[in-house]
């Protein structure tokens, strides 16, 4: 039995300790944000936040993060609401600024990689609220185990959405 803290709730999961976190999130907890892209930590489609840091859930054994705070794409709105001290009612109807920006900028094409892109953007903006273009490119290319890859080529739309999210977050302050 594994105990995991995911999106603010504790879950008991009947899975072997070495099960990669991704399969626990998708198959046991029915979370659909993180996707299977490569299983090799080479693309970022499976990314989640573990204690605020982007982690590739496809290679991370679930047991290794048992005592840490795991946040998936599903948990981003609540994370933002908590950071902003929003009421439970307001939080229900709020998306994370990164998600809002992704919609307003119409960033995804197929959207399969965008889970990881939004997780990476959240990690970046929490540490650097107003990143430069070079810092954005660096974060999405060099800060993780591999670059966050998009096969549809939405990188420009991602950059514009990160900048837009930074603006929304600044207003929210």
């Amino acid at each position: 039995m594994l105990t995991l803290n995911v999106n603010g709730a504790r879950h008991q999961v009947d899975a072997p300790d070495d099960t990669p976190l991704l399969y626990v999130l998708r198959n046991h907890l029915q979370l659909s944000g993180p996707q299977f892209g490569c299983g090799l930590a080479q693309c970022g489609a499976c990314a989640v936040l573990v204690d605020g840091k982007e982690v590739r859930s496809c290679v991370f054994p679930a047991a290794s993060v048992a005592n840490q705070e795991i946040v998936t794409l599903e948990g981003l709105p609540a994370r933002w609401a908590r950071q902003k001290g929003l009421s439970a009612e307001a939080a229900k109807n709020t998306l994370h600024p990164v998600q809002q920006a992704w919609i307003e900028e119409q960033t995804p094409q197929c959207g399969f990689c965008q889970n990881g892109m939004m997780i990476k953007a959240t990690e970046l903006l929490e540490s650097n609220p107003n990143p430069t273009l070079a810092q954005i490119k660096n974060a999405f290319t060099n800060s993780g185990p591999s670059p966050n890859l998009c096969r549809c080529g939405t990188y420009l739309a991602i950059i514009e959405a990160v900048q837009h999210a930074a603006t929304i977050m600044a207003k929210g302050r």
């Binding site: 899975a15 399969y23 998708r26 979370l31 299983g39 794409l73 959207g111 399969f112 890859l149 080529g153």
Partner: protein, 780 residues
């Protein structure tokens, strides 16, 4: 059944009766057939629950004035079904965009037409546009009768029909009625092109458009971004088992013996063998992955070395491939006497150009859930560019009628053409495993399976000859394109299991399975007097030598065939310009006649800050560690859209590394339906084009593909993208819509290769322009 009216354009509208029933009634539900009526017993699978000759199968108007549309084409990320299709229907019906509340797509039991996720705007006349136009006329007829006002005196705004001082909403027109409007359709539901609506219903004049041309958002983006979408990857059925497939050791291996599961480690796993198809099925996904790895290690295959290795690809294609069995294709615009013109040319270019094989490389490997039920019906849950064709392929494989097969379509990773012929890899494998076990089975390919066992975009080479007259204009253009067959729609699981499939590509094959290499790159230089374009086709590499008839399977990939023909043509035109001492962009303007081609060239000239001068630049250099800069241009016509692109690059001679610094692209699709979505599509294509040009080459040895992940088959990261400028040219007088997604990916390669020449004075007539190849060229 009283006929209300007969239209010169073909359809008939009739009313059976006025009816009342519980809840709201919608137009024509009763004529769809009892099967989908609420509460009626539903057959497990039907040929099609919707009758494509009834427009309400395509468009449903509800009494509350909401509208539902259905299309067999599934969105793969470009948003056309959610944005353009809505805009087109809203326009033809004169309703607000927001009135179309539901889009149903792809599911074979819920959509009328079939066909694939490509050319969504279908010659400017997608089915949904005609369906809407027919429906609009029928609604006017109804309103005319109801209001007692002649049809030609009626007008519609926001779904309200008005005339003679009276008005009525569409919702009120259809309330409590059963209506039947029959429209003409033709085609084959499970064929690659599906069904097409016939006839010529009157269309709304372009000058009256109010919905088309606006940047509506893609409705599915919000649910994807908020993690509320059900992706194909999320489908879980009760009792479902997880599977991985142990693919053969080589592309020609046959099974000697399948490994056994180590039951001490994997107690809930089992091996299923069908011919050369080896599947490992388990209760949990993690156990299936581990057990499959263990079984793979214990499975024995024959060896096979029947491919020319990629390092010898060109030599093989030039010297050994069989180009004689397949008829030569001639360009439809061939004209004049090229031979004489070349002989008498003032200056001549004669060169060979090479294109590598490329992977489609979806960011998620193929997967599918299949449920073969005890009564023989088959349900497949997947993301697929052509669900109806997949349905036909599965029926053929199992020897059942298509009625027995339902494909349920969900969003998934972009396929870029890979599944437009109905399968991507996992679907038929899941069906065979489910059939063997009598339970739902989910097959997920791993990254290595997807790199090594999926299809690829074909490589090839082209011989070009250009003759210049004494004024420096092109007097003659001749090209011979050589490319192995680019479309193999056989499902791989069926092939491995030795079950029936359509034919492998062959000279006598039909539209899909033919080895003929047609001319795919429409000619754009109308003022050249003598033109000969020929296409030479052959079998896929290793196809005939492989004991399992596999070989290096190909499948159309974004801008299929045209990419392979456009790179040689456009780079050769840039070389011809240099030979003439002319600026490459002005040279194109001097040889094009079509106003729209001239328009996109002028647009990129302006937007890119193009400096008019011949290439190479005066200070071109091919040695040293200091980057040298250059620029190149390309022109293209595809799916009724004109495109031009300019690439500004920097190349470091010592390393051979090319960096694209500025990418400028202009597109004239005719009517721009949705500027924001078109811009995003073009940006994506631009990045993929840079990827094709600089990174992508399938590497194979004599047995199979040796790349198995994103490190060995790299694609660009965010730091590889340049400044990108997109110029959209809205050209309403064209009167129709052109494609906007693919093509953007094809223009970069010849433009970047021309820019390399501009910067260094040396030509590399082969893509991708990898650092090692560029370095070798510059050091030669």
């Amino acid at each position: 059944m009283a006929t209300l009216s007969e239209k010169p354009f073909g359809p008939t509208l009739s009313r059976r009766q006025f009816v009342k029933a519980g809840g709201a009634l919608v137009v024509g539900f009763s004529v769809v057939g009892p099967g989908i009526l609420k509460g009626a017993p539903k057959p497990a699978a039907m040929k099609n629950s919707l009758d494509p000759t009834l427009p309400n199968s395509w468009i449903e108007l509800h009494p509350d004035n909401t509208i539902l549309i259905r299309t067999g084409k599934s969105d793969f990320g470009q948003s056309s079904t959610f944005t353009s299709y809505r805009q087109i229907v809203a326009e033809e019906l004169s309703v607000p965009f927001e009135a179309i509340t539901t889009v149903i797509q792809g599911h074979t039991d819920q959509t009328p037409d079939g066909s694939g996720a490509f050319d969504f705007l279908g010659g400017g006349m997608p089915n949904i546009r005609k369906a809407a136009a027919y429906t609009y006329q029928a609604l006017l007829d109804l309103a005319s009768e109801r209001l007692g006002v002649e049809k030609h005196k009626l007008s519609v705004k926001d779904g309200i029909v008005s005339g003679g001082g009276k008005s009525i909403s569409y919702g009120d027109l259809v309330n409590n009625q059963q209506l039947k409007l029959t429209i003409p359709v033709k085609g084959e539901l499970t064929g690659i092109m599906g069904l097409t609506i016939e006839g010529d219903p009157p269309m709304k004049p372009v000058s009256q458009y109010t919905v088309i041309g606006k940047s509506f958002k893609n409705s599915v983006t919000a649910s994807k971004v908020a993690a509320k979408e059900t992706w194909a990857t999320d489908v879980r059925l009760p009792g479902m088992l997880h599977a991985r497939v142990v693919h053969p050791k080589t592309l020609g291996s046959t099974l000697v013996s399948a490994g056994q599961v180590d039951k001490t480690k994997f107690p809930n796993s089992q091996v299923i063998v069908k011919g050369n198809l080896v599947g490992v099925v388990a209760l949990t996904e993690w156990e299936a992955i581990q057990a499959a790895e263990q079984v793979a290690g214990a499975t024995k295959w024959t060896d096979w070395k029947g491919l020319p290795a990629s390092a010898k690809l060109y030599q093989y294609l030039r010297e050994e491939a069989d180009w004689k069995s397949t008829p030569v294709a001639n360009g439809s615009l061939n004209k004049g006497d090229v031979g004489t013109a070349l002989t008498g040319a003032h200056k001549k270019l004669s060169a060979t150009y090479q294109v590598s094989y490329m992977k489609h490389g979806p960011i998620g490997p193929t997967m599918a859930v299949a449920d073969v039920k005890a009564d023989g019906t088959v349900h497949i849950y997947t993301h697929n560019q052509n669900p109806q064709e997949l349905r036909g392929e599965i029926a053929l494989m199992l020897g059942v009628a298509p009625d027995h097969v339902v494909v349920h379509a969900y969003p998934g990773p972009g396929h870029y053409g890979r599944s437009n012929g109905g399968n991507a890899g996992a679907e038929d494998e899941a069906v065979l495993l489910s059939q063997a076990l009598g339970k739902p089975v989910r097959v997920q390919w791993m990254r290595a399976d997807d790199m090594q066992w999926s299809t690829q975009g074909s490589g090839g080479f082209s011989d070009v000859q250009i003759g210049l007259d004494e004024k420096g204009k092109i007097a003659a253009y001749q090209v011979d394109h050589y490319m192995p067959a680019m479309q193999d729609d056989r499902p791989i699981g069926a092939v491995l299991a030795g079950l029936p499939t359509m034919a492998a590509p062959n000279p006598q094959g039909d539209f899909i399975s033919s080895t003929v290499n047609g001319i795919q790159d429409p000619w754009v230089y109308a003022s050249i007097p003598n033109v000969t374009e020929r296409g030479h086709g052959t079998f896929q590499l290793g196809q005939k030598a492989s004991p399992i008839a596999v070989g290096l399977r190909d499948h159309s990939m974004r801008t299929p065939g045209q990419y392979q023909q456009h790179f040689p043509r456009e780079l050769a035109i840039s070389e011809a310009a240099a030979l003439a001492g002319a600026d490459a962009l002005q040279f194109r303007l001097d040889h094009a006649r079509e106003e729209r081609a001239i328009g996109v060239l002028k647009a990129v000239r302006e937007a890119s800050g193009w400096e008019t001068r011949p290439a190479p630049r005066r200070d071109a250099a091919f040695t040293g560690s200091t980057p040298v800069r250059g620029r190149g241009v390309a022109l293209m016509l595809r799916n009724r859209s004109y495109w031009a692109c300019a690439c500004h690059i920097a190349v470091t001679p010592d390393s051979g590394k090319i960096v694209v610094e500025k990418y400028t692209i202009a597109v004239d699709p005719g009517i721009v339906i949705n500027p924001m979505q078109l811009k995003r599509q073009v940006e994506g294509g631009a990045v993929m084009g840079i990827s094709h040009a600089l990174f992508e080459e399938v590497i194979f040895d004599e047995s199979g593909i040796t790349q198995d992940d994103w490190n060995s088959y790299p694609i660009p990261s965010m730091s590889d993208i340049p400044e990108i400028k997109v110029v959209l040219i809205n050209n309403p007088q064209v009167g129709t819509y052109g494609g906007g997604s693919e093509a953007a990916n094809a223009l970069a390669a010849p433009a970047i290769a021309a820019a390399l020449y501009d910067a260094t004075g040396k030509i590399l007539r082969k893509v991708p322009l990898k650092p090692a190849y560029v370095k070798a060229l510059l050091n030669a």
